[in-house]
């Protein structure tokens, strides 16, 4: 009985997952980063204030990185979980 329930669950997962994995989605195009965006992220989100000139000097590096990220986002990553494994803390005996 338990086996049958498990098998049913697996079949259900596969049925749900396969069309999802095969579906092609297109991400929205990103607009070019501005110095003002970086300044505000740094100030308002990161808590690492940078002035306008410094933020502007970061634009070229971050835009180049984000263009690479645009390509990274298009890779076949759907079925891959991030390889980060959490282990609960326990006292070793």
């Amino acid at each position: 009985m338990a086996v049958r329930v498990q098998l049913k669950a697996v079949v259900l997962q596969v049925q749900v997952l396969i069309p999802f994995l095969n579906q092609e989605y297109k991400m929205h195009e990103r607009s070019r980063i501005s110095g003002e965006t970086l300044r505000r992220i740094s100030q308002e989100l990161a808590g690492i204030p940078v002035d306008a000139a410094l933020a502007e000097s970061h634009v070229e590096d971050i835009e180049a990185l984000m263009q690479g990220v645009d390509q990274l986002r298009k890779l076949p990553l759907k079925a891959l979980a991030p390889p980060l494994v959490f282990l609960p803390e326990e006292d070793l005996k």
Partner: protein
């Protein structure tokens, strides 16, 4: 330079064991070289002669009483200054930790101490290991002994230069984007980045938790095997270390390479390198072919995205680690580190996770290649060591960042966690060294040692030393 300090650990160990050379005599020789060269090279940031002599006398006494511990007993070594050393200043070459004296040893420091090594001091590094050339350090840059105006590669530049100049027999390094292999190649020494999870990161200041690899740097592949041996153990203080039974990493040395299949990934690893680097590395793999190995052309799918993924990961993880100190005291960091930590604020969490997922994709590509071949060989770094103040370079007609080009061939191997060995394999006409990188399957370090040892038995690049500093 004293003759003893030119010898690899494997030969020194035989002399020490046979009591033909005493650890005290050996330690004095290395201390003399530190005195002779460090003012020019800047490899050491802290020298501990009293502690070293005490270690050496203890080792000598133990060996005399018949308590020989093994190949590292009485061997003088030094640690990269991001490894915590009890009661010895550990600065990460940053003003952030200018006066920090830990009260504990990093696990690797303890492992090497328990094996009987003699610690000579602490070695220069790019600040917090966050760089590719060892040029941003609160103690100033390390100078490449082959060309003093050039960098040594980094971040473990002090370790590489010290090994090359006989200022220690071996050293620790750490590798998150190539920081063991890049300086090994740029100076002409041998470095081994083990599989992720083999060595403990406990007590080693993190650059990026998910890609930091501690490992040894020495004269030869065989030495790296000896130095890696005590590091290979599960550590309850570092959950990334795996529970595994490890072999004697030198067990295959001497078996040669006949019948081994060596993958040659020309796309990306060779065809984007400086021509002289490509030519010398192709000569090196031809040596392996002449020894009986079979060369097989291979291609690593998705490799071209490695720089982006690595960049996202190091920016995000380093920014997270330094978040508190950096937000309070950004002025304590060197301008290069400061800029990288600022850039780390802009990485989205979802892109960090995409980059992590890419690691599995790239790992699958390498796994597919390792179904065809036993190891993969390529240039360690795709360019020669450049002048310390040079930040752009022309490679095959394209202007590139020196920093990013340094990482090009090494960072994919950190992303996958695979083991990799760098051995010296030649020089440019102006005496700048070139390295051959050999990458293997997870936990197959002994095969890398076998290939590296066979190459070093057939060549003498690893024996070369710059004569100009002695004239």
């Amino acid at each position: 330079m004293s003759d003893l300090t030119l010898l690899p650990v494997s030969e020194l160990a035989n002399l020490v064991r046979a009591r033909k050379v005493s650890p005290v005599e050996l330690t004095q020789s290395y201390l003399e070289n530190i005195e002779r060269y460090n003012g020019v090279i800047n490899a050491y940031v802290t020298v501990t002669p009293e502690l070293a002599m005490a270690d050496a006398r203890r080792a000598e006494d133990e060996i005399a009483r018949g308590h020989y511990k093994g190949a590292l007993h009485g061997i003088p070594i030094a640690h990269k200054d991001i490894y915590c050393t009890a009661d010895v200043r550990t600065t990460c070459c940053s003003n952030v930790l200018r006066d920090y004296v830990p009260d504990f040893d990093a696990t690797v420091v303890k492992q090497w101490r328990d094996a009987g090594t003699v610690m000579l001091g602490k070695l220069n590094t790019h600040e917090f290991a966050y760089g590719t050339r060892n040029i941003s350090s609160s103690f100033g840059p390390v100078h490449n002994p082959w060309r003093l105006d050039c960098h040594t590669g980094g971040s473990s530049g002090g370790s590489a230069a010290a090994v090359l100049m006989g200022m220690c027999a071996a050293a620790t390094g750490s590798d998150s984007g190539g920081s063991i292999r890049m300086p090994s190649a740029a100076t002409g020494v041998t470095g081994l980045k083990p599989t992720f999870g083999l060595g403990s990161r406990f007590g080693v200041f993190p650059l990026m938790w998910t890609m930091d690899h501690p490992g040894p740097m020495a004269r030869t592949a065989l030495d790296c095997a000896l130095l890696l041996q005590p590091m290979a153990a599960h550590d309850a203080n570092d959950k990334s270390t795996v529970v595994r039974k490890y072999p004697d990493f030198s067990w295959q040395a001497g078996k040669g390479v006949r019948g081994l299949r060596i993958g040659i990934p020309r796309r990306y690893f060779y065809d984007e390198a400086e021509e002289i680097v490509e030519a010398k590395v192709l000569e090196a793999v031809d040596v392996l072919k002449s020894l009986g190995a079979e060369l097989v052309e291979v291609d690593i799918e998705y490799i071209e995205h490695a720089a982006t993924a690595s960049g996202v990961l190091h920016l995000a993880e380093a920014a997270a680690y330094h978040d508190d100190v950096f937000s309070e005291h950004p002025e304590l960091y060197t301008p290069e580190t400061r800029r990288n930590l600022e850039l780390g604020s802009y990485v989205l969490a979802k892109d960090y996770l995409h980059a992590q997922r890419y690691r599995s994709l790239l790992g699958n590509s390498f796994r597919n290649v390792f179904r065809q071949v036993d190891v993969v060989a390529m240039p360690t770094i795709s360019l020669l060591a450049t002048p310390i103040d040079q930040h752009k370079i022309q490679i095959r007609g394209k202007e590139k960042s020196v920093h990013l080009s340094m990482l090009h061939n090494t960072e994919p191997i950190d992303l996958t966690g695979l083991p990799a060995l760098s051995v010296p394999c030649g020089f440019a006409p102006d005496n700048r060294p070139i390295g051959l990188q050999i990458v293997g399957r997870p936990f197959d370090e002994s095969l890398l040692v076998r290939v590296g040892h066979a190459f070093q038995q057939a060549t003498d690049w690893h024996l070369k030393r710059p004569a100009s500093l002695d004239s």
